[in-house]
């Protein structure tokens, strides 16, 4: 099923299920048996009548394995869209937030979030409490399984059907988790299996994979290769690294930065022109963030941070976005600057950006030199081609300013060009409305550039890897 279909809705169930493995011995086969038995018990709980779905932010509770018994006046045959309607009308702000900006970006895909609960007052037995003692020496390994599964349903599908599919998805996820745990046992230590959702190109849609916590992406490459083949994905770019995980609409980003503010803009009208834009997700880094007052000198650093955030979120690196100090230190480490550079307020340019990308992220970049600003008008093909092939944000420095180019609107026939600019000189808060209204992220014409200054552009290259 296709998640970005306008008539689809995602049901996402999350919870934490306890896994208790009783090992009678510590050798391989005992451990395997104990783990499998423990997962069997968890699957039994999930298919029992004690499983309860609680629809987040609502008073609705559903017993999916009890003939879909529900509370609060909804029935098995209620359509998904009606359920969504009830949730929206129950929103504290009257559903104001679920209009315009969000829907525009997500194409009306909405998510119904569900928490997993177990009913305690559903007695599996009738007898009063009995204490039983087992004298056998054994080993105990317990963990909380972070279950997180999704199903996609049509707007007109009945919720009863959708919920029973969700239970099925829970069971398959438990089986996937069992495989992941068994594959990565070291002695008697079990790694916690963690689910990740990936939004793959149509017609595949949303796919969930389980990765063992603590094993870095690099070590999981062979597994990813298998999955790339299974889902017919290109072999030269990452789709299934942890960083590529799908960000569900409505979920806040933990770090608070704006993501892809350019998506809130509409293209200017330009005859016969096509947009060539950055691909994927980046965070908007700008002056004054992270309690760092770099106003007046940090613009190139911020542009570099935006670029680093792109590589991290596309899964090319697990390294977090570097701070100003870390950037400066990297330049000292490569011998480009003296050690007094660290902690200073000195500017950097595209060459330094290139050096840092290489040093910290292992990324190669091309430098494009333009002898005067007015020449940028001739760079249409070059830039368009970059965005098509690499899709990475570009840092441009010249005159006394640095900016980030997120795309171009270019006409092959007329040569007309517009630049999508992300401006690191913004000093306000993470307010999408303000950023787009005031043009801190916006389309600019040739008059944006200093016509006589020379410019250097740093064009980061995307590694060919999964």
């Amino acid at each position: 099923m296709v998640a970005s279909d306008r008539s689809a809705i995602i049901l996402r169930a999350r919870g934490s299920l306890e896994l208790r493995c009783l090992l009678d011995g510590t050798d391989g086969s005992h451990v395997q048996k104990a783990v499998s038995r423990a997962f069997e018990r968890v699957r039994a709980r999930v298919t029992s009548q004690a499983l309860v779905f609680r629809v987040r932010d609502s008073p609705m509770f559903i017993w999916p394995n009890k003939g879909c018994q529900v509370t609060e006046g909804i029935a098995e045959t209620t359509a998904c869209k009606d359920l969504q309607q009830r949730l929206r009308s129950g929103e504290p702000d009257g559903g104001k937030r679920s209009s315009k900006k969000k829907d525009k970006r997500n194409g009306d895909t909405s998510v119904i979030n569900i928490d997993l609960l177990m009913e305690l007052t559903e007695p599996g037995r009738e007898a009063g409490p009995t204490l039983t003692r087992r004298e056998v020496r054994h080993h105990l390994a317990q963990m909380a399984l972070p279950v997180d599964c999704v199903v996609t349903a049509g707007m007109d599908d009945g919720i009863g059907d959708a919920f029973s599919r969700l239970v099925g998805a829970l069971c398959s996820q438990l089986t996937d988790m069992e495989s992941a745990v068994l594959r990565h046992i070291s002695g008697t230590s079990l790694l916690v299996p963690q689910p990740f959702h990936f939004h793959l190109p149509e017609p595949t849609g949303l796919v969930t994979l389980v990765y063992p916590t603590g094993v870095p992406d690099a070590q999981l490459e062979s597994f990813r290769k298998e999955m790339h083949v299974r889902f017919a994905l290109p072999e030269d770019r990452p789709y299934l690294r942890r960083a590529n995980a799908y960000h569900f609409p409505g979920e806040p980003f933990k770090d608070g930065y704006l993501r892809n503010p350019h998506l809130a803009l509409s293209h200017p009208a330009l005859e016969d022109a096509k947009p060539f834009l950055v691909q994927g997700v980046y965070s908007y880094h700008h002056y004054m963030q992270d309690r760092m007052d770099d106003s007046g000198w940090g613009c190139a650093y911020r542009s570099l941070q935006t670029i680093c955030s792109w590589f991290q979120q596309q899964g090319y690196t697990e390294r977090v976005v570097p701070s100003h100090k870390e950037i400066q230190q990297a330049l000292v480490d490569v011998g480009d600057k003296p050690s007094s550079f660290v902690g200073s307020r000195q500017w950097i340019g595209s060459i330094e950006v290139q050096a840092v990308l290489d040093q910290l992220l292992g990324i190669t970049s091309r430098i494009l030199f333009v002898s005067q600003g007015s020449e940028l008008v001739n760079q249409g093909r070059e830039l368009a081609s970059h965005f098509q092939r690499e899709g990475t944000p570009i840092m441009i420095g010249g005159g006394v300013l640095a900016h980030t180019i997120l795309g171009v609107l270019w006409s092959e026939t007329t040569g007309d060009i517009r630049f999508l600019i992300l401006d690191p000189h913004y000093t306000g808060g993470e307010d999408l409305q303000l950023v787009t209204d005031k043009g801190w992220c916006g389309w600019k014409g040739m008059d944006f550039w200093d016509q006589r200054a020379y410019y250097n552009l740093c064009l980061p290259q995307r590694p060919r890897a999964i």
Binding site: L120, R125, A127, R134, Q142
Partner: protein
């Protein structure tokens, strides 16, 4: 303006009857329900005689404070949710009236301390922390009622209102539910004999989960005005109570053995108004009934088995209910496998000073499968707690 105590007329009757026993110091406890504005007293019970046939002491010095508070502790086990020991009463001759106030203060604080010791939950900021000390002069029949704030031992007593009314608990709705237990207590290699400790630790974890569980009353999560009938508890099956306490791996720990506790608890709570904290009351009853029973189980093990050794499988004492005469409430007791209605009746008489005909004792709420002890050879595989 102090607290108000609305007291069941039958309690007045009881206290008056006690006073006719001349020239003695009588102590006892008061039982009922707290609410933010006032408390409701539904039962008073005198401290049981220590030795049969001994004459009650005439001076406060003869009063055995430990005995009085122990009585309170044992009675608190017999109270379903919503009901608790509200305080202490003393009936003395006029010359002891002043000393009685000091004694009441000591008893109230000591009783609260003892009763809260074994609890799996703590009083919250919103709970009423005032307990009552009632003094009745045996000559003038005058009742002086004061409250003590158990959260502040240095505070002074505040005067309170003591008013009698009939039918206090008449239309109190009752909330019932049955809770499924499936607990696993690993026993460490070194102290696999210390069962009680392992169980205590396990129960504390369980209690945290209980507190965080969602309670639906008559299928609804939000408070409704409907008369309460069935409670239903759903728990987010989290192992660690602190979110973000996500470990990345689970290492196997060696255990010397294990205990599993499985079965169904019958739980009940009474509330003077549906607006009261029904969910808190029933949750507390659930925690209390389990902690009381396990306490009693291990106490019994120590007395009877001497070495505290447990057989392979033993049921916890069974919960039985008995109606409180003149009210719509039921109190409870716990029956060991080798006991019957007669023993329960004796306990009600001794602890709560009222007679209950054997046939009125309801032993059908919980069922123990077989009163024999069975030995299990194969490892017991219980479904995990989630």
């Amino acid at each position: 303006m102090g607290r108000g105590y609305i007291v069941e007329a039958l309690v007045e009757q009881y206290l008056v009857n006690l006073q006719t026993v001349h020239a003695s110091c009588i102590s006892g406890i008061l039982i009922g329900q707290c609410s933010s504005q006032r408390d409701y007293v539904v039962l008073a019970a005198q401290t049981p005689q220590k030795d049969c046939g001994a004459v009650r002491g005439c001076s406060l010095g003869d009063l055995d404070a430990d005995w009085v508070t122990e009585h309170g502790r044992q009675v608190s086990r017999m109270l379903p949710g919503g009901l608790s020991v509200l305080g202490v009463f003393l009936i003395t001759s006029p010359d002891l009236s002043k000393e009685a106030q000091n004694t009441l203060r000591k008893l109230v604080y000591a009783m609260e301390k003892l009763i809260s010791m074994g609890r799996l939950w703590n009083l919250t900021e919103e709970d009423v922390s005032e307990r009552v000390g009632l003094h009745i002069c045996s000559k003038t029949k005058k009742a002086v009622c004061r409250t003590f704030d158990v959260r502040d031992p240095k505070s002074s007593a505040r005067p309170a209102d003591w008013k009698y009314q009939s039918g206090v608990s008449d239309s109190w709705p009752v909330l019932k539910c049955s809770v499924d237990l499936d607990l696993y207590f690993p026993l460490s290699e070194t102290s696999s004999e210390n069962l009680e400790n392992s169980v205590k630790i396990g129960l504390q974890k369980w209690a945290k989960q209980m507190e965080s569980s969602v309670c639906l009353i008559n299928g609804k999560h939000s408070d409704s005005d409907a008369e309460l009938l069935t409670g239903c508890l759903c728990r987010p099956p989290q192992m660690s109570s602190a979110l973000g306490e996500q470990r990345s791996s689970a290492a196997a720990e060696a255990c010397g053995g294990s205990l599993t506790l499985a079965g169904v608890l019958q739980c009940r709570a009474y509330l003077h108004s549906h607006k009261l904290k029904a969910r808190q009351a029933i949750k507390r009853d659930i925690m209390n009934t389990l902690s009381s029973r396990t306490e009693m189980f291990f106490e019994d093990l120590l007395i009877n088995e001497g070495d505290g050794k447990m057989a392979s499988q033993q049921p916890l004492p069974q919960r039985v209910f008995a109606p409180l005469p003149g009210t719509s409430l039921s109190l409870c007791d716990y029956m060991f496998p080798d006991e019957g209605a007669a023993e329960v009746g004796e306990r009600f008489k001794e602890m709560l000073d009222f007679d209950i005909p054997e046939e009125q004792i309801d032993m059908t709420q919980e069922v123990i499968t077989g009163k024999f002890l069975c030995v299990r050879k194969s490892p017991t595989v219980y479904a995990s707690y989630s």
